[in-house]
Subunit: 202 residues, 2 copies
DNA sequence: CTTAATAGGGAACGATGAGTATCTTATACG
DNA sequence: CGTATAAGATACTCATCGTTCCCTATTAAG
């Protein structure tokens, strides 16, 4: 019925990437609950049949979309030679690139994990922040430089900055003001990590 | 058609409370998304018509259920005369009574607030923890006692314990181990609030 | 005892969306 | 070119769920 002559028909990896991008955008905009297969197909400019030829059902599609996003866009901490700037840089990158990611993931993953059995805790690290892996590296460098005492920064303290940022993203559902990042680093993380000596160089 | 003779037919406020309790239990168990009007009616032992006679639609019902819960079960901090025990007591009460509350609320409210327009940030304080109000009181008492310096505890630091607990509840979706609460208070909150002097009396 | 409200039980309607099937047509590959 | 493969479009089935209606039974009030 449609009179559209197909201009260009995508195939293989190109098509797949377009679909996964579309799927992610739907999740980010509508949340996992509002996320429909029809909408993804429409947004990707294709049809449901094509999706179902690749993924067995909706949860698998969502899973794939998230995995695709994470693979495409890993968050790495900068290496500035100063703990403060490393951590702040990490938070800034998360904040810039992951707006909507943490929010959408955490805000909607209640259902997602009900559907898929994926554990939320598992996603924490890799998913919304690049997580400990990045933070661990930052702290290890600081220890090597002698900037912080070995063993002073517990796992929980290490998670603190990204957890707090995630909290902000979650509650506000929009990009967090840079001043908040600075506050988190200067008034919370650094005092705990370095023992309260003035660290500020705002 | 049912052969059940109705033993006692509830009305008015009694019935309403039963419905709202049932509604809350559904939200806590299934999440806002899995929350169906049929299920609430069934759980409350009544019929949908009764619900629709009282609330215009599903989001309003959910709203009412949450409001009902919060009104019925305010979290108050204990007054032990020591900052540490007050904060820890507060966290424990939140942890006990609000399992599922913070989790269900935060994990599913993405949809809820999409539906209702309720702002997540607004719910933070009142909803899942009894929030700053309780914490503010705790800190004020500590200042009055001279236990902490006036002005040392910023708003963000004040939110820290409940925010971290909420994070744990959210990610784990189950009651948090008491050791975690102790860790939050002793290694994070107290050092920040009191300036790092040893405060522990575990 | 009478009457007006209102609870309870269902059935019914409409919308939405997952998943399937079919058909046509573009395109990669030989 | 010619052919197998897969894309794109459309339409259909089936289940779920919000919302409305209707009818009967109960209860409070006078």
């Amino acid at each position: 019925m449609s009179t559209h002559p197909v201009r260009h028909r995508r195939r293989g990896a190109t098509l797949e990437a377009a679909i996964l991008d579309a799927a992610w955008e739907e999740i980010a905009e509508r949340g996992y609950t509002g996320f429909t297969v029809d909408a993804v197909a429409a947004r990707a400019g294709t049809s449901k049949a094509v999706l179902y030829r690749r993924w067995p059902d909706k949860p698998e599609l969502a899973r794939a979309a998230i995995a695709h996003l994470l693979a495409a866009d890993p968050v790495v901490a900068p290496d500035t030679g100063r703990l403060r700037d490393d951590v702040l840089g990490l938070l800034r990158r998360v904040n810039e690139r992951r707006v909507g990611v943490a929010a959408a993931l955490v805000a909607n993953l209640g259902d997602f994990y009900r559907d898929t059995g994926t554990d939320l805790g598992t996603l924490r690290d890799s998913a919304s922040t690049g997580g400990p892996s990045a933070m661990v590296a930052v702290v290890e460098r600081a220890v090597r430089r002698g900037e912080v005492e070995q063993g002073r920064v517990s796992e929980r303290i290490m998670r603190l900055p990204t957890d707090l940022l995630r909290m902000e993203l979650l509650l506000g559902a929009r990009e967090v003001d840079d001043a908040v990042l600075v506050e988190i680093v200067d008034t919370i993380f650094l005092p705990l990590a370095t023992g309260g000596r003035a660290q500020r160089t705002v």
